[in-house]
């Protein structure tokens, strides 16, 4: 009889989650939408849709388009606003035993500060994930995430406003992601998560118009996984804080790639659309792998990549 391998990981700021698998922001609503389809308590954590100070209507449709092994989205950060979130969405989530991570977004430093402040006071939020990497909004978003200086600044502001662990979510649309990662670490981030979507575009060749109402959107799904794995590999070797891997994970095998290169935890995004049970299947797939490889603790797996010389 084998004992179950340990899967708990510390994802920064002393937040320990029971397994490394979270659901990614924007792909899991506010949790409730999926609650009849899987046991939320079996997730490592749940990241809610990006929250802004005021409700946002989002971009004009069509907002999604399918591409080879991927999809584009240009939702434009439609959300109910942080106050409505706290009043109407959070109470439902408090009924579960799963860490809730609030993904936050602002057009200005002040907005980031205010949103972080509200969530800090709310209770029932376990960490903040600072989105400085959305390719689909005109202001804020990637505007902060493209340069080390602005990225560091946002991080400092949020850090200064909250006692919660601060995760900063990085964009792949940069020449050197390690520079941004180092900057936000300096700014006080407890962890970094990557990658957000890659800016992309698709065309309706019959109508000769963009497939998205917003012209461009963000590419997610299996297509981007190799890019995400490479970036995680670059970042884990230059920062001290935990790295959360995101991008195209649809199976335990995919998740293992990230863990092996050194990610402490993962987020599952687009895969939730293909199979609402994806995240929980990935949890058990990782457990099976650990058992099969006689690893008693996931810590033995994380960062265990060997480079044959």
């Amino acid at each position: 009889m084998s004992i179950k391998p340990k899967t708990a990981v510390n994802i920064g700021g002393s937040l320990v989650i029971r397994n490394p698998v979270m659901t990614a922001s924007g792909t899991f609503g506010y949790g409730r939408e999926y609650s009849s389809l899987l046991d939320l308590n079996s997730l490592g954590a749940l990241v809610v849709k990006g929250l802004s100070l005021h409700p946002r209507g989002g971009n004009r449709p069509p907002r999604i388009a399918e591409t080879p092994a991927g999809m584009l989205n240009a939702i434009g950060l439609q959300n109910v606003g942080v106050k409505t979130f706290v009043a109407e969405k959070l109470p439902f989530l408090r009924g579960f035993d799963v860490p809730v991570i609030a993904n936050i977004y602002g057009e200005t430093l002040e907005e980031f500060e205010e949103v972080a402040g509200i969530l800090n006071a709310a209770g029932g939020v376990s960490a903040l994930e600072v989105n400085i990497s959305c390719p689909n909004v005109k202001k804020g978003g990637l505007a902060f995430g493209a340069e080390p200086d602005t990225a560091r600044e946002v991080t400092k502001v949020v850090r200064g406003t909250t006692n919660l662990p601060v995760i900063v979510k990085l964009s792949p649309n940069v020449s050197d992601i390690t520079k941004i990662a180092l900057a936000v670490e300096e700014g006080g981030a407890d962890a970094v998560s990557l990658i957000n979507t890659i800016k992309a575009m698709a065309v309706d060749v019959e109508k000769r118009i963009p497939l998205l109402g917003n012209t461009t959107g963000g590419l997610s799904g299996p297509a981007i996984r190799p890019v995400a794995v490479r970036m995680v590999w670059e970042v884990v070797r230059c920062v001290e804080v935990p790295v959360i891997g995101i991008g195209g994970i649809v199976s335990a095998r995919d998740a293992l790639e990230f863990l092996i290169v050194g990610a402490r935890a993962l987020q599952v995004g687009t895969a939730n659309f293909l199979d609402p049970q994806s995240a929980v299947k990935i949890v058990s797939g990782i457990e099976d792998y650990l058992e099969k490889h006689s690893l008693n603790d996931i810590a033995e797996l994380i960062g265990s990549l060997q480079i044959p010389e």
């Binding site: 009849s36 849709k49 409700p55 449709p61």
Partner: protein, 262 residues
């Protein structure tokens, strides 16, 4: 709501239209007219997403589901090659169904092209009891005679008004033109309206019907990812106090025609 369906048949009907019958392998819910399923090809990351299809008919309380679809792109093209015994992943029944008015004396169904699919199941539900004093008129429009689906079944259940764009069957022209002629009298009878079809048809219907105070439910189509209201991908612009978008997958696909910005 997550299920696996085994293909009982996948028959070609006229003009790139197929009739797919599935038997569900897991516990299931009976779908209501207007609801849909997201159906995904197994073992593939390309195409990636499920395709939404309205329930065309169902049997054995929803254990056996019928869909009618038209080949329009890569996904439906691959669907058309599926064979008996194949398996598909399903999520559903999803979405807000048609509101049923058991007391309604006059029903008007307006279907354009593939619209027939959702209206077929609605019609079945409305006609499963004794007919009573209810009259049902089905305004059915198609591009051409070969693209009219299920006419025989419909005719058994109600009165059919037909147009084709090319005049190859029924009257030549748009179905909304035909409806326009009868609209005033139908509205006066307190008819309840249901419509599915291309956006252009629905927009025209909106123009025609707005002057009347009648209930007109329409079923909309928008690209979808989650089908559950989580991704906000299927937004349509809606009228209303807050001016936000509505999600076709869960606020719809059935809307009162007046809720939508056309």
């Amino acid at each position: 709501m997550q299920n696996s369906g085994k293909i009982i048949f996948n028959r070609e009907l006229a003009g790139k239209h197929y009739h797919l019958r599935l038997i569900l392998e897991e516990p299931f819910l009976k779908p209501r007219p207007g609801q849909f399923f997201l159906i995904r090809l197994n073992d593939r990351l390309d195409p990636l997403l499920g395709r939404p299809f309205s329930v065309y008919d169902c049997h054995h309380q929803g254990r056996i589901l019928d869909f009618v679809y038209r080949v329009v792109g890569r996904g439906t093209g691959l669907f058309s090659k599926l064979k008996k015994g194949g398996e598909l992943s399903l999520l559903g029944p999803l979405g807000r169904p048609f509101n049923i008015f058991p007391e309604a004396k006059t029903l008007v169904l307006i279907g354009g092209g593939m619209g027939a699919a959702a209206l077929n199941y609605l019609l079945k539900e409305y006609t499963k009891g004794p007919a009573g004093a209810r009259s049902i008129c089905y305004y059915l429009g198609a591009k051409t005679a070969g693209e009219i689906i299920g006419k025989a079944v419909i005719e058994r259940r109600c009165q059919v008004m037909l147009t084709t764009d090319d005049g190859s069957k029924g009257r030549r022209g748009l179905i909304t033109d035909l409806l326009e002629e009868d609209l005033e009298s139908l509205a006066a009878q307190g008819a309840v309206f249901y419509a599915c079809g291309p956006r252009g048809m629905l927009r025209r219907l909106f123009e025609l019907i707005s002057p009347y105070k009648v209930s007109c439910q329409v079923s909309l189509e928008e690209r979808m990812a989650c089908g559950l209201g989580a991704c906000l991908g299927c937004a349509v612009e809606a009228r209303g106090e807050d001016d936000l978008y509505r999600r076709v997958c869960c606020d719809g696909p059935v809307f009162e025609i007046g809720e939508i910005v056309w």
